[in-house]
Each structure stands twice: as C-alpha cells, then as structure tokens.
C-alpha cells in the first residue's frame, strides 16, 4: 500500500436558493494505492472519500463527490450566509487519522521513498483555506480548472 499526500485546489460555482456562490478551496487529500484499488480520502475537507480503478478515476470521483456535497449544502441553506457557514464547517472538519497518514507520507516523499512523477510538487506547508463569495460579476478571468500537487 502506498500513500500519496496531495494538495487539492478546486474552484466551483454553486447555485443556492436566491444566490450564486463561488467556492475556492485549497485543501489536502490522501491518495492511497491499495494493490490496484485507489482511494482518495479527504484531510481538509475531511469527512468524504472516493474510489476508482486508477488514481485519475479516484481523483475525478472525489472532485465530483466534493461538488455533490456543496450542492447538498446549498439545497438546504436558507441564504448565502448560511451556505458560507456550512461550507466553512465542511472544510474545517479535519480527518485526524487521514492527517496522520498524510504527514507520514510527506516524510516519505521528502526521504525519496514516495514519488508521483505525473504531479508537480508543492510545499506541504502551502496555506490551506476555503473562500466562499457571492457571485455577482461574471468574468472569464474567474474561470479556473483547479490544481493538484504532491506535497513535499
């Protein structure tokens, strides 16, 4: 079994009841290769996981599931402030066991024992956070594909 500590960035637009929100996340996930079965476990946000037959498949499923959680939060948010608060709660709930494995995996990356040459490397100390803003001024410059990196 191999663990890969990843830094996970997503920019999503979510429609709520009476508002449109932009959610920008800089978080952490743990990618695990369990003898060909791949899992992506959220660290920040914790509380969700996805699986696939390849790393790409598991990561794509995680991104979709992440968006599904945002949609579900929006479905019952009374207003934008409520949505923002719930998304903040979602992101801040760290998975302690996954974090422990993530930090150990960073140590292995730094020791040269784990590598993923299909990913760029980024400092494991990269600032984490979530920003939820009201979407009011559409502009093409706001489009963002998100990013993924190996924490080192």
């Amino acid at each position: 079994m191999t663990n890969y500590p990843l830094l996970f960035g997503r920019r999503e637009k979510v429609e709520g009841n009476g508002f449109i929100a932009r959610v920008a996340v800089s978080g952490r996930v743990l990618l695990t290769d369990e003898d060909g079965e791949f899992w992506v476990e959220g660290v920040n946000p914790g509380g969700l996981a996805a699986t696939g037959n390849s790393a790409s498949e598991a990561l794509a499923q995680f991104c979709q599931d992440f968006l599904a959680v945002l949609f579900d939060i929006a479905s019952e948010a009374e207003d934008f402030d409520h949505f923002r608060d719930q998304v903040g709660k979602f992101f801040s709930e760290t998975s302690a066991p996954a974090l422990e494995d993530w930090e150990e995996a960073v140590r292995q990356v730094r020791a040269g024992q784990v590598d993923a040459d299909w990913l760029t490397k980024k400092s494991a100390e990269t600032r984490l956070g979530v920003e939820v803003t009201l979407f009011s001024q559409p502009a093409a410059t706001n489009n963002d594909l998100g990013d993924l990196a190996l924490a080192a």
Binding site: T51, V69, P97
Partner: protein, 66 residues
Amino acid sequence: MLDDCTPGAVIESKPHKNWVLWGDKIWWNLPLGKHGNRQNPEIEVGHVKRMMRHFGVLDCAKKHLR
C-alpha cells in the same frame, strides 16, 4: 454497526448523498447505492471503513466488517 460503534448517529438523506452525523462530526458522502435513493442502499465496505476511521471507531467497526 452504527448503533454499536457510534450510538446516536443519525443518517440524513440529501439529494446526492447520505450524511451521517455523530457528535460534532459529519461524514458527508455515504453513497446512495447503485439503485439510487433506497432505504437500504448497497454500501461499499471501503466507504464505511473510512467513515468509521473518520469517527475514530474503526477498531469497533472491524468487528462488524469483513
């Protein structure tokens, strides 16, 4: 298993996923299963293991999972 390992846990069905609430923790994406929103969807063991790990009760859950 939830009654044994996470007494008081509540499952809330949402449009896309099930949320499992226990104390101050939430598992946000228990799958609804291949057949959509059923009362007792098939749940992959891997998802349940990771949920119980997140709740800090994996040792208890292993007694119920194979």
